[in-house]
C-alpha cells in the first residue's frame, strides 16, 4: 500500500472511531478516552438550574465581627480595575464555581433517600469523596484569604453556610418539573473553621 493511501486509511478509521465513540458509546466508555480523543461537547448548555451563594460569618470571642455573601464580595472585586479581572475569575471558580457539584451530590443523596429508600450519605460523601473534598476545603480557605486581604478584621472562628436557590422562570413562575424545585431554597451545607491555635 502506498504511504499516502495508508495515511488516508488511518485518518478515515480515526475519525470514524471518534464520531462513533461520541455518538454511540456510553459515558463510562467515553471517560476512558476523554483525555486522548474528543468524546463529546455540551456547550452553551445549562449546567444547573439552581443559583448558589456562600454566607460567611466571622466571630471573635463569640461576637459577630463581619458577615457577607461571597456573591457580594465577588461583585465588589469585579468593579476593580480590568487588571484584576483574571484574579476575580480565579476566585469565582475556586470558591464558588464548583458548588453545583456539591449540590448535585446533596440532591442525589436526598433523591435516593426519598425515592429509593437508600441511606442519605451526603455527610459521609463530603468527607470521603475525592471530588468534594477540595470544594469543601476551598470553602474554608476563602475566609483565610479574606482575613489576609482585610487585616483589620479579627476573628477566631468562622461559620460557613452554603445556600441554594432554584432559578425562577419569569414566564413560568410555577414551573416545578425538576427535583431542584422540590428541594427549594435552603441552606444545604454548613461547616465552620476554628482559627484558635
Amino acid at each position: 500500500m502506498k504511504p499516502q493511501r495508508l495515511l488516508f486509511t488511518l485518518f478515515v478509521l480515526y475519525w470514524a472511531g471518534v464520531y462513533g465513540v461520541t455518538f454511540f458509546a456510553g459515558n463510562s466508555f467515553k471517560s476512558k478516552f476523554r483525555d486522548t480523543i474528543p468524546t463529546g461537547y455540551r456547550m452553551f448548555a445549562p449546567v444547573t438550574n439552581t443559583n448558589y451563594d456562600v454566607y460567611y460569618e466571622f466571630y471573635s470571642g463569640g461576637e459577630l465581627k463581619e458577615k457577607f455573601f461571597i456573591s457580594d464580595y465577588l461583585k465588589r472585586q469585579n468593579e476593580k480595575s480590568v487588571v484584576f479581572k483574571k484574579s476575580n475569575f480565579v476566585k469565582e471558580r475556586l470558591y464558588g464555581g464548583l458548588i453545583k457539584t456539591l449540590d448535585y451530590h446533596y440532591q442525589k443523596s436526598l433523591y435516593d433517600e426519598l425515592y429509593k429508600q437508600k441511606e442519605n450519605d451526603f455527610e459521609k460523601q463530603v468527607l470521603i469523596n475525592r471530588e468534594l473534598i477540595p470544594i469543601v476545603e476551598n470553602l474554608k480557605q476563602f475566609p483565610q484569604l479574606y482575613l489576609l486581604e482585610n487585616p483589620e478584621i479579627e476573628a477566631d472562628s468562622i461559620s460557613i453556610s452554603v445556600l441554594r436557590k432554584p432559578m425562577i422562570l419569569p414566564f413560568a413562575p410555577d414551573y416545578k418539573d425538576d427535583f431542584t424545585y422540590k428541594i427549594g431554597e435552603k441552606t444545604f451545607f454548613q461547616t465552620s473553621l476554628n482559627l484558635k491555635p
Binding site: 499516502q4 495515511l7 488516508f8 485518518f11 480515526y14 475519525w15 471518534v18 464520531y19 461520541t22 455518538f23 480523543i37 474528543p38 463529546g40 461537547y41 455540551r42 456547550m43 452553551f44 448548555a45 445549562p46 449546567v47 444547573t48 438550574n49 443559583n51 456573591s71 465577588l74 461583585k75 469585579n78 487588571v83 484584576f84 479581572k85 483574571k86 484574579s87 475569575f89 480565579v90 476566585k91 469565582e92 471558580r93 475556586l94 464555581g97 464548583l98 473534598i133 477540595p134 470544594i135 476545603e137 476551598n138 480557605q141 476563602f142 483565610q144 484569604l145 432559578m167 422562570l169 419569569p170 414566564f171 413560568a172 414551573y175 418539573d177
Partner: protein
C-alpha cells in the same frame, strides 16, 4: 461538496498560529496577578499534590516563563512543528494545573492544537518560512481540525435535541442565569419574555443542526460562519468568556479556503504578509 474538501488551505494555518499564539500569550499575562492565589495550596485545594504536575505549581514562575517563551517562538514561527508540539504540551499542563478554571474552549483548543502539530503553518508569517510545499500530512491535519469543528456542532445539536430543558425551550434562560449580572442586563428583559426565550432556544438548535451542511455548501458558507461569529461575540460581551469565544471564532477560519481568505484580507496586507512564495 467536493470543492469544500479539495480547495487549498495553506494561508489560514499561518494566520491561526499567530492569532492563537497571541490569545494564549495574553491569557498567560493576565494570569500574573492571580498566580499567588492560584498556585498556593494554602488557597487552592484543587492543586495536584502528587505526580509530575505538583512541582510545576511549586515553580510556577519558571513554568509560566518557559511557556511564554515557547509561545513567542510559536508566534514568530521559529522551531516549526517542534514549537507547535511544545505549545500543545504546555497547554495540556496548564489545563492540569488550573482544572477548576477550565472551559469548553480549553478542551476544544487542546484537540485543535494536537492536530495543529502536524500542520505546516510556516508557509507565511514566519521568520523561518517553509521551503517545502504543503504536505499530505498537513492536509489531513487541517481536515482533522475541520472535522473536529463539525463534531462540536453536530454533537451539540444532538445533545440539545435530546435534552429536556432544550426541548421545553427554557435552556437559554437557565444558561444566561448562571452568569453574574444577568438580572441587571438587557438580556434579562428579552429572555423573561416566553416568546423570545423559546424562539432563541429553538433558533440555537436549528443553527447548530444546520451549521455543517451550510458550511459545506459554498453559497451558504459565508452566512453560516458570519452568524456563528455574531453569536460568539454576543456571548463574549455577555459572559466575558473572551478566551473561549476567540478560540472558537479563530477555528472558523479553517472552514475558508485560500481564495476566500484572500478576499477577506485587504490587498496591501496580502502584498506585505502573505505574498506568494517564490
Amino acid at each position: 461538496m467536493k470543492e469544500f474538501w479539495t480547495a487549498e488551505r495553506m494561508i489560514y494555518p499561518s494566520v491561526f498560529r499567530v492569532l492563537i499564539g497571541l490569545v494564549l500569550l495574553t491569557d498567560l499575562i493576565s494570569f500574573i496577578p492571580a498566580t499567588d492565589l492560584l498556585f498556593d495550596p494554602e488557597f487552592n485545594a484543587f492543586l495536584p499534590q502528587t505526580g509530575f504536575i505538583a512541582p510545576l505549581a511549586e515553580h510556577s514562575t519558571l513554568f509560566l516563563s518557559v511557556y511564554a517563551l515557547v509561545l513567542i517562538l510559536f508566534i514568530l514561527g521559529i522551531g516549526k512543528n517542534i514549537s507547535s508540539f511544545l505549545v500543545f504540551v504546555f497547554h495540556v499542563l496548564m489545563m492540569q494545573l488550573t482544572l477548576p478554571l477550565m472551559t469548553w474552549g480549553d478542551t476544544i483548543l487542546k484537540f485543535s492544537l494536537l492536530y495543529f502539530i502536524f500542520v505546516d503553518s510556516f508557509q507565511y508569517l514566519a521568520l523561518n518560512r517553509s521551503k517545502k510545499s504543503f504536505s499530505f500530512i498537513s492536509q489531513l491535519a487541517v481536515w482533522s481540525i475541520i472535522l473536529h469543528v463539525f463534531l462540536i456542532y453536530l454533537n451539540n445539536a444532538y445533545f440539545k435535541i435530546l435534552d429536556k430543558d432544550w426541548q421545553q425551550g427554557i435552556a437559554v434562560f437557565y444558561s444566561f442565569s448562571q452568569y453574574q449580572g444577568f438580572q441587571e442586563s438587557n438580556w434579562f428583559s428579552v429572555l423573561s419574555n416566553e416568546f423570545f426565550a423559546k424562539s432563541i432556544n429553538y433558533f440555537i438548535i436549528l443553527q447548530q443542526l444546520t451549521f455543517v451542511p451550510m458550511v459545506i455548501w459554498k453559497k451558504t458558507r459565508g452566512i453560516a460562519i458570519l452568524l456563528s461569529v455574531f453569536i460568539h461575540f454576543l456571548m463574549l460581551f455577555q459572559f466575558e468568556l473572551w478566551k473561549f469565544e476567540l478560540i472558537v471564532v479563530l477555528l472558523y477560519g479553517f472552514l475558508l479556503n485560500d481564495k476566500e481568505i484572500r478576499n477577506l484580507i485587504p490587498e496591501w496586507i496580502q502584498q506585505r504578509l502573505i505574498s506568494n512564495r517564490t
